[in-house]
């Protein structure tokens, strides 16, 4: 199980993924790596709304 290893997050590798990706894909790259840590079937980022009159929206990384 990957999650049972020490220091699962490799910051250098993570930043490399972020910088390699296009800005619009940077979050998806991290989310995908995050999902791999726990064998997630799906990963969804919900962005907090900027006012109460806006409902939160979702992006579906990876």
């Amino acid at each position: 199980m990957r999650g049972s290893e020490d220091h699962v997050i490799d910051v250098g590798a993570l930043l490399e993924k972020v910088e390699t990706a296009a800005p619009i894909d940077a979050v998806e790259a991290v989310a995908a790596a995050l999902g791999e840590m726990v064998d997630a079937r799906a990963v969804t980022l919900l962005v907090a709304p900027s006012s109460r009159t806006c409902r939160p929206s979702t992006t579906e990384p990876g």
């Binding site: 199980m1 999650g3 049972s4 699962v8 997050i9 910051v11 993570l14 972020v18 800005p23 619009i24 940077a26 979050v27 991290v30 989310a31 790596a33 995050l34 999902g35 840590m37 726990v38 064998d39 997630a40 079937r41 799906a42 990963v43 969804t44 980022l45 919900l46 962005v47 907090a48 709304p49 900027s50 006012s51 109460r52 009159t53 806006c54 409902r55 939160p56 929206s57 979702t58 992006t59």
Partner: protein, 311 residues
């Protein structure tokens, strides 16, 4: 599993993972750390793309709202060792020109809340002029009185007669804990101390832009460790929100994080107006802990001692 994506108490979002099994404690801890890193990735990435702005909106912004949004600080919440603050702006359907702002340096916390006269693009442009002059003065190293005078004169010189902005500028010395304030025609702040809500009595001077060359009084602000201070604009208190009892709402939300307090007040004013705000409703909630400048306790981007219990 749902994990917060947070930086300094600023709730950027949450990440939801569909897992094939119940996660171990170690996996939960790792994912929380990764979600914290994700907060920084979002902060960096949104400088290059509109995709996160899209994510924060469910309806298109009017031009005035677009201008107004750019006047607000990059983060609406800041947790620090000596304080936590959060701001919130609930825009009216006809944008009213409200703003809030804050900045922190080694010696002081400075914050402002302002309300430009009028509505829509003219109000947003007037607010742009006022906020720009406040930031310009602040970044030139002007003290509070000089910032107020500079903003007042900038407004008077660059806007049409009859245009004005109400506002409050506050500075807290982080070494002494002494706070000072300028009040330019603005709604008085509220203080929650020992379970009791009171309006703080300040001398109210002319709004910015009315009297060219005017000097503003820098008034002492009574601030003690444990105080919760709430700054408002009049959209919280007048017109069709008149029935909202802000003081009661504040007392009822005493146990909440400042971020949750401003959300609760925003929700309350929307409820009171049936979702039809006639004026912007804006607020800043400052929890002052006092003591010397120091770091804070944090876990994955938020202070666990400040977090509310799960709903």
């Amino acid at each position: 599993m749902i994990v917060p994506v947070t930086d300094r108490g600023d709730a950027i979002g949450v990440i939801e993972l569909l897992l094939p099994r119940f996660p171990s404690d170690k996996e939960v801890a790792d994912v929380r750390s990764a979600a914290h890193a994700l907060a920084y990735v979002v902060i960096a990435a949104r400088r290059h793309t509109d995709v996160f702005e899209w994510g924060q909106r469910s309806t298109p912004f009017a031009l005035a709202a677009e201008i107004q949004r750019r006047l607000l600080p990059a983060s609406y919440t800041c947790e620090a060792g000596q304080f936590t603050l959060a701001g919130w702006l609930e825009p009216a359907s006809s944008v009213g020109g409200d703003t809030f702002d804050y900045t922190l340096d080694r010696d002081s916390l400075q914050l402002s809340i302002t309300d430009a006269v009028g509505h829509q693009v003219p109000a947003a442009l007037l607010a742009t002029l006022l906020v720009g002059s406040l930031r310009n003065g602040r970044r030139k190293g002007l003290d509070l009185a000089e910032q107020a005078r500079y903003a007042n004169d900038s407004l008077a010189e660059n806007s049409a007669p009859g245009q004005f902005v109400t506002g409050q500028l506050m500075r807290v010395d982080l070494h002494t804990g002494i706070a000072q304030i300028v009040n330019a025609g603005h709604v008085l702040p509220l203080r929650l101390r020992a379970g009791r809500v009171e309006e703080i009595d300040l001398r109210v001077e002319a709004p910015f832009g009315v009297l060219p060359g005017k000097s503003f009084d820098v008034q002492p602000f009574p601030l003690e460790p444990g105080d919760r201070i709430v700054f408002l604009t009049d959209g919280m208190q007048e017109r069709n929100a008149v029935d909202l009892d802000v003081a009661t709402a504040l007392a009822d939300s005493a146990d909440l994080h400042p971020r949750e307090v401003v959300h609760a007040l925003g929700a309350a004013v929307l409820h009171e107006t049936g979702g039809d705000l006639r004026d912007d409703a804006t607020m800043i909630c400052l929890d002052w802990y006092g003591g010397p400048p120091r770091g804070r306790t944090t876990e994955q981007g938020a202070d666990p001692d400040l977090a509310s219990a799960p709903a």
